[in-house]
Symmetry: C2
Amino acid sequence: MSRTAGVKKPARWADAVPAREAQFEIKRRALVREAARAFGRRGFHNTSLEEVAEALGVTKPALYRYVRTKHEILYEAKTIAFDAGAKARDMAAAATADPLERLRLYIIHYIDLVTSELGSYAVLAEPVTSLPPEYANPIRARMREADRALREMVQAAMDAGAMPPGDPKLAVAFFMGAINHIARWYTPDGPLTGRQIGEIFADFILNGLRGPRAGS
Amino acid sequence: MSRTAGVKKPARWADAVPAREAQFEIKRRALVREAARAFGRRGFHNTSLEEVAEALGVTKPALYRYVRTKHEILYEAKTIAFDAGAKARDMAAAATADPLERLRLYIIHYIDLVTSELGSYAVLAEPVTSLPPEYANPIRARMREADRALREMVQAAMDAGAMPPGDPKLAVAFFMGAINHIARWYTPDGPLTGRQIGEIFADFILNGLRGPRAGS
DNA sequence: CCTACCGATCGGTAGG
DNA sequence: CCTACCGATCGGTAGG
């Protein structure tokens, strides 16, 4: 026991390194989140890194310890938002096999995430053309991936007879337009929580897609 | 008769002046439309006037015969989009007094306009903060005006018992997010016309707002 | 993490 | 409507 302990480096060192790395990651995350909010509100090119730095209480060059380019920040911010969408889909898929319920849970969970991030998911509105190809292409791939997964969810509900047959692509364009818009108007000061908005939107969307003959 | 004619300036002149003004207006409109499309696709600050000029087959300084600043172009483009919304509301109001049908007609007409303008209404996604106060403030006023008018339409439908009572603000945020998103994905090459999209979206929206017990 | 600075882009103008 | 150009902003780097 004491021999094993002797072989290890002192605990302070062993912990200090991860701690420093963790600090770095935390700061990097804060930077991306803050920038994402600003990009979402004022647009990517209309937001200078000087402004982002000021909001974080540092100077612009300091940001370059954590990111290499402004493009990388936008890329990261969009990636985080797509990760949230994927997480919401996974949670919904794990919770139930019922296609309609799955769609409902996805909507609620995704809106919950969107509203908890104080507008940083509004970056999704930023055109992918603001990025050079090496960043734009992976983002486009993730857009297609999300689109495909959602269309499959809608198609499954149609196949199960839970909603009338139709074009899943149009249905997804419909409700994702509404959902992604939330990040641009939601504020925690409002009367509704993200969860409440999610439930109301889920009703709007599912009732809309099911049509007037929905009897349940 | 010949005396009156003698007093008038020759017809060629009398017609030429309006013709020149009309030309000017046509060119100005083409400039704003082209810029609006580019702003909507790539963002305001990510679109240089050099690019807009090139798309129109002229050089950048030539644009300044028609507009004073880049901000003015964005302001104009947004104004045109708001005018379209107001026109759609007026057409709907003139066509029927039934609140639900009015809302349906508004949706169909507005989407029809949106899809006929080849993406130039996507400028609505451009943050109003891209503009200096003297332009941003009137735009904000028009946003509030449109919002209020739509909320009143929804409220009227609720009051008439055509849809269950609820928060009209949330309902409007819901469907305007979906509708304004159309300008960002619609292309005339697709299988559906703007009219068809409008009818499907109107069904989605009205069924969504009416809820599962809608029996008609 | 800061001060100082470079280089490129781009809105807008002069002058014709 | 064009050529030529100015001035400001801003992403990114040097050097500490």
